[in-house]
């Protein structure tokens, strides 16, 4: 009586057993990387923190120039090597600390025998000035504190290529993208192409006859009284 009750309890318990079955395997040949050539220096190169000026030239100070961060990136939006990389989703600035972080993380995590990485941004060139801590207003513009690279939304920051799959590169590229001071993502060329197709499809499927472009171009609702000049260019998409 006692023994059967125990057996019943045992039958109700859920034990996950992995049964190994000999089945027909379909091993596909490995992907062909014969068209990919690895460069001599696969790792990311060091970038100067300060731009070099001729010795007679005083390093010029510069205004804030937020226009360098505003709006979409018109040129550097595609991958040259058509593989993987990090793309900025929002505008921002990268200083030498960020650049060093990107360089060290990628150089450490990648496999130089199979992968190579390439910078797609300039070295820091825009001077940012700072006044001393606790100083009062006035007394001219502050001294140059550090240099930055302004980034626009959609810009490619770093490209990674080589004899590897996206799944191999994605973990550390994602890590780097998350640490950047602006929204960024790690993607591949195929994903970007698919996204473009999807955007076009959504645009065509939209049955709302009123789009931001149409409304702004036709000054509907008298919106020209309150929209910004950039809204006439980018139609509410960018700040």
């Amino acid at each position: 009586m006692f023994s059967t009750r125990l057996l019943k309890q045992a039958s109700y318990s859920r034990v996950m057993i992995q049964i190994q079955v000999a089945g027909m395997k379909n091993f596909q040949p490995p992907p062909d990387y014969s068209h990919i050539q690895l460069p001599e220096k696969p790792k990311l190169q060091f970038k100067d923190k300060v731009p070099t000026y001729p010795s007679n030239l005083k390093p010029p100070k510069m205004s804030k120039r937020l226009t360098f961060m505003r709006g979409p990136e018109p040129i550097h939006t595609e991958f040259i090597h058509k593989q993987y990389g990090i793309v900025a989703l929002c505008g921002g600035r990268l200083h030498s600390g960020h650049i060093e972080m990107i360089r060290m993380t990628i150089n450490r995590k990648m496999d130089p025998s199979k992968m190579f990485a390439v910078w797609r941004i300039d070295s820091p060139w825009q001077p940012l000035t700072r006044k001393g801590q606790g100083k009062r207003m006035g007394g001219g513009k502050g001294a140059i504190d550090h240099y930055v690279v302004p980034i626009k939304a959609g810009r490619v920051i770093v490209e990674l290529g080589g004899k590897c799959e996206f799944e191999q590169a994605f973990p550390f590229l994602k890590e780097v993208a998350h640490i950047l001071p602006f929204k960024a993502k790690a993607t591949s060329y195929e994903l970007m192409e698919a996204e473009k197709i999807e955007q076009q499809r959504l645009k065509n499927a939209n049955i709302n006859p009123y789009t931001a472009e149409y409304v702004i171009r036709n000054n509907m609702g008298g919106c020209h009284t309150w929209i910004s000049p950039i809204d006439k260019k980018w139609y509410f998409k960018y700040v």
Partner: protein
């Protein structure tokens, strides 16, 4: 009535024609630098505009038939991928079928490998082979060929016994010894027949004898025709032969009597 109407009209006109003093106020706006990463929330008018300008997508299920609208009714099976090895196995499978004159179709119950070994030993040397194949491989091999009807029997584990000779009694004798295999049907010279038909085929004599019988049946009419055409001539020749025989007998008798001297 008309007096009331005209007075209301006057009052409305007065409302419209009231002097309107235009006022202007200076608004301090766009003087803050925009924060690109943490933009300020849109003001009410802009937010209203943006809400109205949001894209509207039609319901993808609107014009679809009921069996596509109510989800998960149509279960689409994933397309099975065939590897090169499976294609090779299928080719071998078909080759064995094509080369054999007699195939027995069995349902395979579970058995031990030792029993299979005994079967293989039994059929060894009799130009027979046990053929095993999964449903996937059998379909690959036989679809579009003359053996396609055999696939209708391939439910569950199915085994085939392919014989290059057309000796059905021998096959049935072997089948009796196979305990775990259940005979379903047979394929005799590319023709699928039932189990009872197969047993009847076993009672028939040798194929060559049957072929000779068939030839004789086919030629019986021509033989009859030729016989009937040549009947008169044959009778004539027969009677002439008989006559010749008689004459030869009497002539010998005559020669004997002449020797004696009297006719």
């Amino acid at each position: 009535m008309s007096v009331i109407e005209s007075t209301t009209r006057l009052i409305n006109l007065q409302r419209l024609l009231k002097p309107w003093i235009p006022t202007t106020t200076a608004i301090r706006w766009r003087t803050r630098k925009p924060n690109i990463q943490r933009p300020i929330p849109d003001h009410y008018v802009k937010a209203r505009f943006k809400a109205a300008l949001e894209p509207i997508y039609p319901d993808p299920l609107m014009d679809k038939p009921w069996f596509e609208k109510c989800g998960n009714i149509l279960q689409t099976k994933e397309k099975e991928e065939t590897s090169k090895y499976e294609e090779l196995l299928a080719k071998e499978f078909y080759k064995k079928f094509a080369e054999s004159q007699l195939i027995a179709v069995f349902h395979e119950n579970s058995s031990k490998a030792y029993e299979l070994l005994k079967i293989k030993q039994m059929i060894h040397g009799h130009n027979m082979k046990m053929v095993f194949g999964s449903r996937k491989i059998a379909t690959l091999a036989l679809v579009g060929t003359e053996f396609e009807p055999v696939l209708r029997l391939h439910e569950g584990k199915t085994a085939y016994l392919c014989s290059k000779d057309l000796h059905v009694p021998k096959l049935l004798k072997f089948v009796k010894k196979m305990n775990h295999l259940v005979l379903l049907a047979g394929v005799v010279q590319g023709r699928l027949i039932t189990k009872s038909q197969l047993q009847w085929v076993a009672t028939l004599p040798d194929i060559n004898m049957l072929r000779a019988e068939l030839c004789s049946i086919l030629s019986s009419h021509t033989i009859q025709l030729s016989q009937s055409l040549t009947y008169q001539q044959q009778q004539l020749t027969q009677s002439l032969e008989q006559l010749v025989k008689k004459d030869s007998e009497t002539s010998t008798d005559g020669s004997e009597t002449s020797a004696d001297g009297t006719s």
